[in-house]
Amino acid sequence: MALSRPGRIAVASMLLAFAGFLTFRSTQQASLVFAQGSSPGLIAVFSPQSVYTVPVLQVGAQPYVGLMDLLEPLGSIETRINGKKLKLHFSSAGTRQQEGDFQEGKDNGKIGGDKFKLGANFVLQNGRGYVPLSSVPELLSRLGVKPVEYRPTSQRLLIGNVSERYTAELKKGTPSRLLLGFPAPVNPTIATEPGRVRLTFKRDPVVAPTDRVKYDDPLITGTTFSEHNGIAELEITGTAPLMANFADGGRTIIVTAAPGPPPTQAVQQLPVPAPQAATALPQPAPQPPPRPRFLVVIDPAHGGDDIGAAITPQLPEKDVVLALARRVQHELQAKGVAASLLRTGDYAISLDQRAISINAARPALYIVLHAANTGNGVHVFTEMLPPENTAAGGLLPWDTAQAAFSDLSGSVAGSIAAELESRKLPNATLPAPLRPMNNVAAPAVAVEIAPPSGDIADIASANYQTAVAQSIAAGVAAVRSKLPEVTP
């Protein structure tokens, strides 16, 4: 079909305009990546296994979350990316493995062979899959994680009936007392202001029977429950200064009048009996002295902007070690060893902040995890400090605090190496100049995993990581009796 000259110009214009549009669109897509990091936000996830946070990223106007960030702490997950397609295999305790398929730019996927509507397009960026936040409850249910309760106002995701609904009972008297009962021990931060006490629950999945309660009482006038940014807050208002005390091992919080200011000298000299109100003040149950306990702090190195080594262009060290840390925590807990993670999501912590947090936790053992794409197998490191600084006792120098624990750290490293050997995992034990390990006043080891063989991607395989995690846990369990329990 022959076209006239204006027609040819029109067709050429349209083709060029389309090319321009594609260029513009690709620029727009790239800019999404940067927009994601601009205002992250977080959702707090409370599950029977762990409490953790997941960054919320803005893609356009839609909030998204990373599949790995969301699912990793809940079970075993493996993903494979093929072009624009992502295939995942996920299983959590007591459920059979589910298979999911998603494709970049498509608003539906498949889980277990059945169609699944996401509500907005699936996003694949830098080797990570992102799903709309609104699809998360249904997605988790379809993957066998249930029941799921998402509380959008507070950005809290409660999984597996973990919610703790409190009760409030006002005991009228002089002064009145408000007894707050919780089904499990809670550990809120408590802030007092004139006429109010605010309890902030960051790690307890507390929910309220009623958001706002008013009391007809001369001292305590009401409570207000609110949720925001992954936390819950309970504010108790009164007509006088209030205070809060824990009782019943943290299951009860008693709010009542704060003691008045200390009497003046003249008043103290007066031979008057103690006021009746004083005898009515609640006597919080005496807290038993803290008992020594054995806690392992696991530190997945790096995080946030500090990606660590680029294992592959799509696989940063920070992600590999976070997944490994969760496996190590799981294996230790399975052996009855209490273990906590220093980093539970993708955020940066400076070396000094890490050291401060570790020493404040007073662990019986500190394990920092690294990953590299050079060499192969597993390297277990202990401190490499000058021998003249190894004297223990008294205050320890910050830069060489670890030297005092050299022998115990060496025992742990040797035990882990023996377990790696028994599982036929290539390994070596060496000293290394590492911070924050040098600043840790507790037995400490660093474990760096490299690919087990020639294929770098195998470093993230579930089988390899589980074998390494089991070796670490077994190594720690074997020397547990040698390591002193520490009073928090």
């Binding site: 260029t23 290394a432 590492l434």
Partner: protein, 196 residues
């Protein structure tokens, strides 16, 4: 075809052409920047002059986590700190060869070595040494051990070594090994022995 449609199409043509030109400009800019960076990284200063002398290098290998001694002949200046610098540049040169068992970042170089009367040596490396160094506990440790052991092997008066980058102290080499401290030669010698 009306005049209005022709005008609209012409306008579209101009917009499309402008977008195309802009995309071409961006592509050219990125390519140019990458090329310039590559050239900057490859600019390593000329070797030192002086009579040929045999020096000992402690060479690292990532694959089996080892250090091995190797004697080579290089031109060696008369002054001690210049000698130390020349030896380290020979060490870096070995690592910068393609196929090195312990590659370091392209363009890595030693700017200066300062020797103090108490046996301390401060090695001032360039930015590329740290910025492009492979990241990992073992990889970084091997580099540091190799530098300290090589310096001590060729000048036993050097008893401790600190590495700085571009004239300033740096927290870690590439995210792992501590660069804020001095490394004692005897401490490192023990490790070097274990790695052989």
């Amino acid at each position: 075809m009306t005049r209005r449609i022709v005008l609209m199409l012409t306008l579209l043509l101009v917009v499309a052409a402008a977008l195309g030109l802009y995309a071409w400009y961006l592509h050219r800019k990125v390519t140019g920047d990458e090329e310039r960076l590559r050239q900057e990284q490859q600019q390593v200063a000329s070797p030192a002059s002086g009579p040929q002398a045999t020096v000992t290098l402690y060479l690292a290998s990532d694959a089996n986590a080892t250090l091995s001694k190797k004697a080579i002949s290089i031109p060696l200046p008369a002054e001690r700190s210049e000698q130390a610098r020349a030896i380290l540049r020979a060490l870096f040169g070995t690592y910068l060869h393609s196929g090195s068992p312990h590659p370091i970042g392209a363009g890595a170089d030693v700017r200066d070595v300062y020797l103090l009367s108490d046996g301390s040596a401060v090695v001032d490396t360039n930015e590329a040494f740290a910025e492009a160094h492979p990241s990992g506990v073992l990889a970084e440790e091997l580099t540091i051990t190799s530098i300290v052991a090589t310096l001590n092997a060729n000048d036993p008066k050097i008893t401790r070594v600190k590495i700085i980058v571009n004239g300033a102290e740096r927290e870690t080499l590439a995210g792992h090994a501590d660069l804020r401290r001095f490394y004692g030669a005897s401490n490192v010698a023990q490790l070097a022995k274990e790695l052989q």
